[in-house]
Symmetry: C2
Subunit: 246 residues, 2 copies
Amino acid sequence: MRDCPRLFISPTGTPPMAVDGMLDLEPGQAHYLGTVMRQQAGAAVEVFNARDGAWQGVIDHLRRDRCRVRLVEQTRAPASTQGLCLLFAPLKRDATETVIRMGTELGVVRFRPVVTERTNTHRINAARLESIAIEAAEQCERLDVPTIDPLEALPMMLSQWPDDTALFAALERSPQHAMPPAPRIGDSVLIGPEGGFSPREHDMLRARPFVRPLSLGPRVLRADTAAAAALALVGAGLEAVCGTGL
Amino acid sequence: MRDCPRLFISPTGTPPMAVDGMLDLEPGQAHYLGTVMRQQAGAAVEVFNARDGAWQGVIDHLRRDRCRVRLVEQTRAPASTQGLCLLFAPLKRDATETVIRMGTELGVVRFRPVVTERTNTHRINAARLESIAIEAAEQCERLDVPTIDPLEALPMMLSQWPDDTALFAALERSPQHAMPPAPRIGDSVLIGPEGGFSPREHDMLRARPFVRPLSLGPRVLRADTAAAAALALVGAGLEAVCGTGL
């Protein structure tokens, strides 16, 4: 259980955090603290980002959509998550949001939405997805927030793929799902759309030397479940190799 | 992509399926086929349960909430999922539903909701959760539907635990999440409530010889994410040991 609210502070345009420094929150964060969390001046908050680490702060003043926090002390050193990229086809809204939320909790550092032949949705709401990623980062206590790339076409992305990076692709359904072989930081996981990859996409993926087919067991998983399961498996493999958390 | 609707038929009170046998669907299934899927007499459906396997059928007649299906041939032999039990504290409604859905996809055979000290919800809507489990089984192409037990108190459940069965408990947060040691069919996975287990519950769990602490990595996962990740990891371990799908 957390004792105080935890807020991500975008490092862009914010001076480095320092003892007794003052920090102006975003209007939405002020609203959250005052109206949702019913906090007042004097209450403790934690603020964080990958550049400054985590800091304990105290609400100096709070009124409607304005809040200023006085920084007290650094409680965690700066750190970025050493993790994976997740390539996924945009899904129905709820399912895409689940992928972003669970992926952030499971240590994805970069989301790359891809258009596949059976992708139904060709638009993503970047602002909404970013706010979900920030909320998930706040709740799961990571210091950084994953990036969310613009939508790209799968063939174009594959044609530009760096050969020294593996792409673990949830391609197969087999009774025996093998542990993924030795993933490395910066490797990617690919999850298809609700209808699966087309036969042509299957061929295209299998022809690429950097693609490592991954089976998630004998059943047909929905795409959000597949994302969580694949990230858990590849993430655990990453730790076994690097001794570092995905 | 599936070609035809897939419907679970409760074996209770239904005679065994046989070639040219007639099967009356539930009113809700008739409504689903006619109104949602816009099917008509002559259309193909798949019906299944663990006792009869999967059968190809043809809609004989369909009118409002009544539908009769003629069985054509068995397409899969009867089978039950050889899997794990999931013990979980009831969560907010959406999160509980995600646990049931993803757990069913990931091969849970028995859901056991438990009351912990920090469980806020002390009621579960059994009928609603069962319908979610059935829908998930229909979509993920398993033949059986997991059972959902009544709510029990954690201490009572632990006091009656059979010593030869392991309980993999998501207790720890550590940078290094180890692969679970050799799970067996019938073992259980335990996920705590949103606020985590209380210190007393931690001690109680660690004192039991059948409890195997499981770390899901360095971050604080929401309970539904933790359930999916733990089931993926323990399920993959189960396959590595038994060569059978969780």
